[in-house]
């Protein structure tokens, strides 16, 4: 779920308020969006992808991160390079190459079925 709107990074462009498909944000009194309805967040990361200032962070959990979680610690996330990491991965933003240009996944063959272990505990495919 959305956890962070960075007050220092936000440029008050209102893009996240517009693009959030589940209408999680309200405009705050100072123009910085506030997370008004966190429980409606569907953890789709779209606000992050569209934020031009890398000011948002969506924790990859479908429930709110607990108090004290590193997923709510802006300094930690900045340090770890996670703030804005999705936008970087999909190559959005000035001077970047669109990730779609490279997006060729592996060939998908027949899905593996987990085999039964042998008496020795080894895993071998049938």
């Amino acid at each position: 779920m959305i956890e962070i709107v960075s007050t220092s990074r936000c440029v008050t462009c209102d893009v996240c308020i517009a693009v959030c498909p589940t209408n999680v944000f309200d405009r705050g009194p100072d123009g910085v969006p506030v997370i008004a309805r966190q429980s409606d967040c569907q953890t789709c990361f779209m606000c992050e992808a569209h934020c031009p200032a890398d000011a948002l962070f969506v924790a990859p959990l479908t429930h709110a991160a607990p108090d004290g979680s590193p997923l709510r610690d802006e300094a930690h996330l900045t340090e770890a390079g996670l703030l804005g990491s999705y936008r970087k991965e999909i190559g959005w933003g000035r001077g970047r190459k669109p990730g779609a240009r490279l997006a060729v996944g592996p060939e998908l063959g027949r899905a593996r079925i987990t085999p039964a272990p042998t008496p020795q505990g080894e895993l071998t495919d049938a």
Binding site: I17, A18, V19, C20, P21, T22, N23, D40, Q42, T43, C44, F45, M46, A49, H50, A59, P60, L61, T62, H63, L71, L82, S85, Y86, E89, I90, W92, P98, G99, A100, R101, L102, A103, V104, G105, P106, L108, G109, R110, A111, R112, I113, T114, P115, A116, P117, L123
Partner: protein, 536 residues
């Protein structure tokens, strides 16, 4: 019932829903000369499972052998309920649309061996471009504007919509020549990636004007995700090994052909572990490039999915990756109701997928193809109405959650619906591992909840969209279980524990319908096919 109507609009064609199907419908209608208004309950460009994910596309070169192979590949899994003519025209339309995406929308396809690789689309990029493309074509877009009901004229022809602008706090009404429902399937707020906007609203609205559903029994889709997270990319789990909670192998488990083993273990112990240990280093790199969002979860939780064992869950995808939806009555994706058209996951996908999941490539091909047909059909219908279109008296068709038949009910209808869905629809032993002994009581309780919603649920204008979503989900589940109980065999993804075999006497589609009283109508038997088999 909603209050005043401050915003009164007109359009030749209204498109409800701004995902792939809706945007292709809007584009086609606009190019046919129609004045088009697209309404999204969220935001056209980010709403729905396509925008937040990535998708393969059923893009096959127009060579007879390749097309034949493509059509034959999933027929058996789908229980031979597909229609070859619809498969062929979907392949044709998808081929044309994908080429237009490359040339006209300038989608940045990867280049492999000197040729554009057009068998997949990255969701955010695709839907961002669709939004700007339709705006360029003259389509007007209203975001955050959930439709709450269809409007009909005195002959029962669909002639507009009513809704609410949630960021402005005002209601709106649109008088229209034709309406396309591209509202998606229904995933019952499971938090599967991008699916919480897919609450089956269009199916409810269609039923309220007299349309029926088809294939609703094909709604047992569940996707693999790391526990407590949203990113569903089941295909990559084809490279995985699954384990019991104690780390010993969970024999028979797999992303395809072994998902029910995972469901049973989750029911039994609550824990299944996974490790994506069968991907070579090269494949691991390709996975990250192909689907960056797959790794968001792992990177942010500090998990190395290739070397760590992590817990997984199964998230309900219902008719998003099942194939049931509004029944189609014509090649232009008309429904049985004049003025109403349907596209994408809101429509049945049996014609292309039969009873097997359309996830991964078929659904995306269907969305862009059916969207194109529905948009064209709606534009032609609107044009044929002429000046008469704007002189009709309109009446709201909405029932449950908008026009209560009795006294206001006590308690919070939204909470009650969430609770019944969590107990009777999400659980693997109800909707996935189906048995009549568990389906019948589940359906009985859903019917009771429906009756209470119908009689007493009402809200102020701001609360109406939510009550309509609640009503839509309950209606959807009732159609699913009604279809499931009527199919006393196992075909495609609609398996019944007590009827494990495929029954040649049931080689036909099932139409279900009704709101307060539900009904099932078996369609004509389809021609016999060899080697009938059941999907697992």
């Amino acid at each position: 019932m909603t209050g005043t109507t401050p915003l009164d609009l007109t359009a030749d064609v209204v498109i409800v829903g701004g995902g792939p199907a809706g945007t292709w419908a809007a584009l086609t209608a606009a190019e046919a000369g129609a004045d088009v208004l697209l309404l999204d309950k969220g935001y056209c460009g980010t709403s729905g499972p396509t925008a937040s994910g990535g998708t393969g596309v059923w893009y096959v070169q127009p060579e007879p052998a390749a097309r034949e192979k493509a059509m034959a590949s999933r027929e058996k899994l789908g229980g031979y309920l597909q229609d070859r003519r619809w498969m062929a025209r979907t392949l044709d339309q998808t081929y044309a649309n994908m080429n237009r995406l490359a040339t006209e929308a300038r989608y940045p396809f990867p280049v492999v061996d000197g040729r554009p690789h057009q068998r997949g689309l990255q969701g955010p990029e695709y839907m961002r471009r669709m939004r700007s493309w339709i705006k360029r074509a003259g389509v007007r877009i209203l975001d955050h504007s959930p439709v709450t009901e269809l409007l009909v004229d005195n002959a029962g022809t669909v002639a507009g919509v009513r809704g609410h602008r949630r960021q402005h706090g005002t209601d709106y009404r649109v008088r229209a020549g034709a309406v396309v429902l591209a509202t998606g399937g229904c995933a019952f707020l499971s938090k599967a990636l991008g699916c919480d906007v897919a609450t089956g609203d269009g199916a409810l609205y269609a039923a309220e004007v007299g349309a029926a559903m088809s294939g609703m029994e094909f709604s047992t889709a569940y996707a693999i995700a790391p526990a407590f997270t949203s990113v569903t990319k089941t295909a990559y789990y084809g490279f995985a090994t699954f384990f019991h909670g104690d780390g010993t192998p969970l024999a028979g488990a797999g992303s395809q052909g072994g998902r029910s083993v995972i469901a049973r273990e989750l029911l039994r112990t609550g824990t299944v572990l996974c490790q994506i240990d069968q991907a070579t280093p090269e494949q691991q790199t390709q996975m990250r490039i192909g689907q960056p969002n797959f790794f968001l979860t792992f990177d942010r939780l500090g998990i190395n999915p290739f070397t760590d064992k992590f817990p997984v869950t199964l998230l309900l995808e219902g008719t998003v990756r099942g194939t049931g939806g509004i029944r189609i009555a014509g090649d232009d994706c008309a429904t049985s109701v004049p003025g109403l058209y349907v596209a994408g996951d809101a429509a049945t996908r049996e014609l292309v997928c039969g009873g097997f999941t359309g996830g991964g490539s078929h659904n995306s091909a269907w969305a862009m193809s059916s969207g194109t047909w529905a948009g064209g059909g709606a534009a032609r219908f609107a044009a044929a109405l002429g000046a008469h279109a704007s002189r009709r008296r309109l009446v709201g068709a909405g029932g449950a959650g908008i026009r209560p038949t009795g006294r206001p009910a006590a308690g919070d209808a939204w909470d009650e619906v969430q609770d019944v869905l969590r107990r009777q629809v999400h659980p693997y032993d109800k909707n996935y591992l189906r048995n009549g002994d568990r389906l019948r009581p589940a359906l009985a309780e859903l019917n009771q909840v429906w009756d209470r919603l119908r009689a007493g649920a009402a809200a102020d204008p701001a609360g109406t969209p939510r009550l309509r979503q609640a009503s839509a989900m309950v209606a959807h589940a009732r159609w699913m279980y009604t279809g499931a109980l009527a199919r006393t065999e196992s075909r495609g993804m609609a398996r019944r524990e007590e009827f494990p075999e495929l029954d040649p006497a049931q080689h036909r589609r099932l139409t279900v319908g009704g709101l307060d009283e539900l009904w099932v109508r078996p369609e004509q038997l389809l021609p016999a096919r060899p080697e009938l088999a059941v999907a697992s």
